[in-house]
């Protein structure tokens, strides 16, 4: 089993988070294989726009 620790790149992590227990590595239709450890903000927003449901905008603390 892989021992990697999943972590969103800083620019992505400022705005988005991955739902608990959901994958960082996945395949998705026309996008092919995705690794959220190595994505840009632009790519993540494109994934969300095209229907990926387990990456969500961070809730404001308060």
């Amino acid at each position: 089993m892989e021992k990697t620790v999943n972590k969103l790149p800083d620019e992505v992590a400022k705005k988005y988070e991955v739902l608990k227990g959901r994958p960082f590595k996945f395949s998705y239709r026309n996008f092919g294989r995705i690794d959220l450890n190595n994505t840009t903000l632009k790519q993540v927003e494109a994934l969300i726009k095209h229907g990926v449901q387990h990456i969500v905008r961070k809730q404001a603390k308060g």
Binding site: M1, E2, K3, T4, V5, N6, V18, L19, K20, G21, R22, P23, F24, K25, F26, S27, Y28, R29, N30, G32, R33, G51, V52, Q53, H54
Partner: protein
């Protein structure tokens, strides 16, 4: 679901076959407590959820060898579908030999991609809910290996393994809008 017009956009792309890898997950690795949603178009519109530390396995497919076939089964008033995914793996690697053994009696789910960018699923179908009023997804008709024929061929011949998976269903292979989980180490 009501009848509707079945039209074809003039000049639309319509390339045959399958593209990319084939994805397989044993049915025992699926989180059956979370049933995917079927949308108004009859597509699976939410993710197929897996148990902790489980993932779909990718199998390479020689371009031009992958296809989906379906046929009508049963007699009048009892018709249904038999859906089959077929593809060819080109060589005799330890991985394909191991996969071929493990999958012989293993129910599972397969997902493939067509050249129109649609993911199609074998092993998840729709059934009516208890009231008979709506379609719900069901994991109770999984895909099984139907045939696996391998050959080294003679020199100059095609070599490899041609696998066919089959599932019974009420519909043709459903369109899947969700992600394919490839991550055995999900977010803590």
């Amino acid at each position: 679901m009501a009848f509707q017009d079945v039209l074809w956009p003039e000049g639309a792309d319509n390339m045959g076959g399958l593209i990319g890898d084939i994805y397989f997950v044993p049915m025992g690795d699926v989180d059956k407590a979370v049933i995917p949603t079927i949308d108004a178009e009859g597509r699976i519109s939410t993710d197929i959820m897996l148990l902790d530390a489980k993932k779909f396995f990718a199998i390479y497919e020689t371009r031009g060898t992958g296809k989906i076939d379906d046929t009508t089964a049963g007699e009048r008033d009892g018709r249904s579908k038999e859906v089959m995914f077929e593809f060819k793996f080109p060589g005799d690697t330890p991985e394909i030999i191991s996969f071929a053994r493990q999958v012989q009696n293993q129910p599972g789910i397969l997902i493939v991609l067509d050249p129109q960018g649609q993911q199609r699923v074998l092993g998840v179908t729709v059934i009516k809910n208890a009231l008979g009023t709506a379609d719900i997804a069901s994991y109770d008709m999984p895909a099984y290996l139907e045939s696996d024929t391998g050959t080294t061929g003679l020199g100059g011949d095609a070599k490899g393994h041609t696998m066919i998976f089959k599932a019974e269903a009420l519909t043709k292979a459903l369109i899947y809008l969700g992600i394919i989980d490839l991550d055995p180490t999900p977010t803590p």
